[in-house]
């Protein structure tokens, strides 16, 4: 499946809400989620052939959104490290204040520390509620590998919790 620019614009109108909803959940910032929405479709405009081998447009959008958002979370972590090394700690922003905000912020910190494939499997299985077979379909690996990735996630999370 390969789309021209007009078809991608129509796809943006019909499917963009899927990207926006997941980016909001993963990034926790409206501005960052809007940027994710634009970037996912801009990447499709730059490389429309990337959809050629996709069996599901929705699946492709899940993959692309997850990949972009996890990169953003890792970049934030790098940025935060740089800031901490050069400036005094800033007060927590309003949107992460409070118990709910703390939980979400913790979740994003955890994801930013996991290897890319482990983080993606974690998002698909635990946040999107996918079966191992669905995760395997999106990651292009076996169900056995998905089980292994999720076990690794468990171990990493346990270690992070112990060190927190």
């Amino acid at each position: 499946m390969s789309l021209d620019a007009g078809a991608i614009e129509r796809l943006y109108r019909s499917h963009g809400h899927i990207v926006l909803r997941r980016a909001r959940a993963l990034l926790g910032s409206e501005e960052d989620a809007q940027e994710a929405l634009q970037e996912v479709f801009a990447s499709l405009l730059r490389a429309p052939h990337s959809l050629r081998n996709a069996t599901s447009v929705v699946g492709w959008l899940y993959q692309s959104t997850t990949h972009f958002c996890l990169n953003q979370l890792r970049n934030r972590r790098t940025g935060a490290r740089l800031l901490q090394s050069s400036v005094a700690p800033a007060p927590a922003p309003a949107h992460v204040a409070g118990r709910g905000g703390e939980v979400l912020a913790e979740l994003r910190r955890v994801l930013s520390r996991l290897p890319a494939d482990v983080a993606a499997a974690t998002v698909y299985h635990h946040l999107d509620g996918m079966t191992h077979a669905e995760v395997a379909g999106l990651l292009g690996c076996s169900r056995r590998k998905v089980g292994y990735l999720l076990e690794r996630a468990q171990r990493s999370l346990a270690l992070l919790e112990q060190s927190a």
Binding site: V58, V103, Y124, L127
Partner: protein, 232 residues
């Protein structure tokens, strides 16, 4: 899994992916039928589906893109020389100082349109098509904070440039292409464009809202260029 992850989990019998695929018509007919049958008996899944349907109605901002061909195929300089005269003559440049408006010079906004792979420089009143990509370029004698807003024929305001919530600094120069383009949606009719040139990074969301209500009030320290194109 940690409590924090469990708390954020999708709360329905099938995955969020399957719900989205169902709504997009991607499930095989037998799977879609099973899905529908389950919905009849499951209030939780029906509620989840209704929530997704409601989210799908959200109006999205225009798709911003930078789809233009490489610089060598994008004849800005050659076109700019010819179009500069047209732009200077056609654009209404209004200077807003406290309490007054007057004509001024120095800042201009240009627009390029990509239609079916061909790029052309547009003039005010240009006819464009849904799916065309547009990209703006500015000429400024000094570094300036720039924003481009639009109001479509349905009265919906958008911020075409920049991506953030405030006007963005652009270096002085002639026909400096802004780093974002926009893929036009299908809303037909006249679309009004507002180019803002400001001394400071003004907040844009209030201006977008004012634009939808017939404004905006041009902030002190800003100059504005106005033009329009027709989408059909």
């Amino acid at each position: 899994m940690t409590t924090s992850l469990a708390n954020q989990a999708w709360d329905a019998c099938s995955s969020a992916l399957q719900f989205d695929q169902y709504l997009a018509g991607e499930l095989d007919p037998p799977d879609a039928e099973r899905f529908r049958a389950h919905l009849d008996d499951c209030a939780r899944c029906t509620s989840a589906l209704n929530e997704l349907r409601s989210g799908a109605k959200e109006r999205l901002p225009p798709l911003r893109v930078v789809p233009f061909p490489p610089r060598s195929r994008f004849p800005i300089r050659a076109l700019a020389a010819a179009a500069g005269i047209v732009a200077a003559a056609s654009l209404l440049l209004v200077v807003r100082s406290p309490g007054t408006r007057s004509k001024g010079t120095g800042f201009t906004l240009g627009m390029y349109v990509e239609h079916q792979g061909e790029v052309r420089r547009a003039g005010p009143g240009e006819t464009v098509a849904p799916g065309d990509a547009v990209r703006f370029a500015v000429s400024a004698p000094v570094d300036v904070f720039v924003a481009v807003l639009s109001l479509d024929a349905n009265g919906h305001g958008s911020i075409y440039f920049p991506a953030g919530g405030r006007a963005e600094r652009v270096q002085a120069g002639n026909d400096v292409a802004l780093p974002l383009g926009t893929r036009l949606d299908a809303t037909a009719g006249e679309e009004r464009i507002l180019g803002l040139f400001c001394a400071s990074p003004v907040e844009l969301e209030p201006l977008r809202l004012q634009l939808e209500r017939g404004g905006p009030e041009i902030p002190d320290g800003c100059q504005v260029t106005r033009w329009s194109f027709v989408k059909r």
